[in-house]
């Protein structure tokens, strides 16, 4: 499986979901959102803003959902940023899979222009750590490029494609940023979304992919045919064909997250559901359940 195979002529992709199914899903979301917005006092001026991360934490561990994030920094974040940037460069310019160092250089240049502090962080490393980082970055970018399709403008490639759905008159919004998108309306080609992860595959990535498919479907009136998650850490590529049931599942997760957010907005104590993620959770120092689990 590769992104290139998905975009190859004759690729086996499902017929994109469109029509009344999407109307019904929007209707269900609107119904739940409208009631919740009134109950929780969310308005267009002071809305509930959901992202894939917020949806995931509200369902998995509400305690984590209401904990501010720590500033992201460090090696893994930087590696992810480089792979992500390499994907974006490869979406607008052909990158030679045989010249991985050139691709890493192009990715670092992209990050620089984007105002990311990756290069500053990199320059702060001792030379031997920097060499190790560059070696690892090249490994991951190489894995990503190995399955990347040749640049074909007819697919209308675009990067950092924001998708957003406003519910209850804007009192609740659900938004996401797709790393790379190909085809879809108004082209006659099926839509294919690509999410790039710098690290290893985790099963939670599937729900993120489903959510992006739902948001994209509601925006465009036609669902993408597939969402591919490329994990440069282990080279795994997971392809999710987007069928009705996938979109329904994503919509139900959104309603579940809205319901949990409503309970929290009412002042209910957020439940802590400990798990392997506790190790890196910023709430851990104050979370008894997380500490017990981690011990």
């Amino acid at each position: 499986v590769s992104v290139a195979a998905l975009l190859a002529p004759g690729a086996d992709l499902p017929e994109p979901v469109a029509g009344t199914v999407l109307d019904e899903l929007r209707g269900m979301l609107e119904h739940v959102a409208s009631a919740a917005a009134v109950a929780a006092d969310w308005t267009a001026a002071d809305p509930l803003r959901l992202t894939k991360t917020a949806v995931a934490w509200l369902i998995r561990c509400p305690r984590r959902a209401v904990t501010p994030d720590s500033p992201a920094a460090g090696r893994d974040v930087a590696l992810g940023a480089v792979v992500d940037a390499a994907t974006k460069v490869a979406s607008v310019r052909r990158l030679d899979p045989a010249d991985v160092d050139g691709a890493v250089d192009a990715a670092l240049g992209w990050l620089d222009v984007d105002g990311a502090d990756t290069t500053t962080w990199l320059e702060s490393l001792p030379p031997e750590d920097r060499d190790t980082f560059m070696h690892d970055a090249a490994d991951r970018v190489g894995r990503m490029l190995a399955g990347w399709p040749p640049l074909d403008p007819a697919w209308w490639p675009r990067v950092d494609d924001w998708v957003r759905v406003h519910l209850a008159g804007g009192a609740i919004s659900v938004a996401g940023k797709v790393d790379a998108a190909f085809g879809g309306p108004p082209t006659a080609r099926p839509g294919v979304l690509v999410e790039v992860k710098g690290g290893m595959w985790r099963d939670e990535h599937r729900a993120d992919a489903h959510l992006y498919a739902l948001l994209s479907a509601l925006r465009d009136g036609r669902a993408p045919a597939a969402v591919a998650t490329v994990c440069a850490g282990d080279g795994r590529i997971n392809v999710e064909p987007i069928r009705e049931a996938v979109l329904e599942s994503a919509a139900l997760r959104v309603t579940q997250a809205i319901g949990e957010a409503e309970r929290l907005a009412h002042g209910e104590v957020p439940v802590a559901n400990p798990g392997p993620y506790c190790v890196t959770c910023p709430a851990l120092p104050d979370c008894t359940e997380g500490q017990r689990y981690s011990a």
Binding site: A44, A45, P47, R63, V92, W162, R219, D220
Partner: protein, 308 residues
């Protein structure tokens, strides 16, 4: 729409506008350019807007991929439409990446506009050109997705009109207009926004400002301004009624007033309007009313409570 409705609405607005803008300048005779960006920011929090002007100035800081993308995308589409059509006489739907790259290549070999000169400049890096291409491609994809192909009849990609009153220039920032400009004002202004994150109320205000600026610049009010949201796929249509035009003019005049005030008074906490924008405000840690809002009504983060 009556035969002269567009002109009549424009005449009513013009009768108010020159005096209102002149009063707002308070006699200051320095060139000032006001667009939707000033109008919305000054309305959102006058204190922050003035403080930013006083500290950073409101001057043009040069091209960057973020700023150049829209300009390059629109130029790419215009160049494509002006190129000879293939046999059969009809342009097929262009691939955004192809025509954006062609536009950048053309700008580098034959720079005509200021953005072309930036793209051609030896100090502009390939990384910047690539980022510009990516952003312009995304912008153009969204435009074509929203307005369709072939473009709606009588679509024009001309820049929005400008209107001068003394030292003040009011700029309409339209992405396209559709329909023919007649005294009846049957045409529409089209604006593509990449993010609808500021909310529908701000987008409606944006439409009012563009409608007023179009009306002042052309002497004819459009039927409506349509805001197309690239991220949500929504079309927010605001009819250019007298009320909408008056709202747009009020926002423009208020921005002029704040620009003038900023010459002597920058940030002043008495003029703050705390709200959602405090969360991302660069001045938040230096603004007592903003901090009070964040600790009180704004305690919720993106709609969720925040644990201490």
């Amino acid at each position: 729409v009556s035969a002269g409705a567009g002109r009549e609405r424009a005449e009513r607005l013009l009768a108010l506008a020159a005096g209102a803008v002149e009063r707002a300048t308070g006699g200051l005779d320095e060139p000032m350019r006001v667009s939707w960006y000033d109008a919305l920011d000054a309305d959102r929090c006058p204190a922050e807007y003035r403080g930013r002007l006083a500290e950073l100035g409101g001057d043009w800081e040069g091209w960057s991929p973020v700023i150049a993308a829209r300009s390059v995308a629109r130029a790419a589409l215009l160049t494509y439409l002006e190129s000879p059509p293939p046999p059969g006489g009809v342009h097929r739907r262009p691939d955004p990446l192809t025509i954006v790259r062609d536009q950048i290549a053309m700008a580098r070999t034959n720079p005509v506009r200021s953005v072309d000169e930036w793209l051609a400049d030896a100090t502009t890096t390939d990384h910047e050109r690539r980022a510009t291409a990516a952003r312009a491609t995304r912008w153009l994809t969204a435009l074509l997705r929203m307005i369709g192909w072939p473009l709606p009849p009588r679509t024009s990609l001309d820049d929005g009109p400008r209107w001068r009153a003394g030292s003040v220039t009011v700029v309409a920032s339209l992405d396209a207009t559709s329909g023919r400009v007649t005294a009846a004002g049957e045409h529409e202004g089209l604006v593509l926004v990449t993010s609808s994150g500021r909310g529908v109320a701000a987008l409606r205000d944006r439409a009012c400002v563009e409608a007023a600026a179009m009306t002042l610049g052309r002497g004819i009010a459009p039927a409506a301004v349509v805001v197309l949201t690239a991220d949500a796929g929504d079309r927010i249509c605001v009819a250019a009624s007298d009320d909408a035009l008056a709202r747009g003019l009020d926002l423009i005049v208020a921005a002029v007033r704040e620009r003038v005030t900023a010459r002597s008074v920058g940030y002043d906490e008495a003029d703050t309007r705390p709200g959602q924008h405090c969360r991302t405000c660069a001045r938040a840690d230096r603004c007592p009313p903003g901090q009070a809002w964040l600790a009180g009504p704004g305690r919720r983060r993106k709609g969720l409570p925040v644990l201490p």
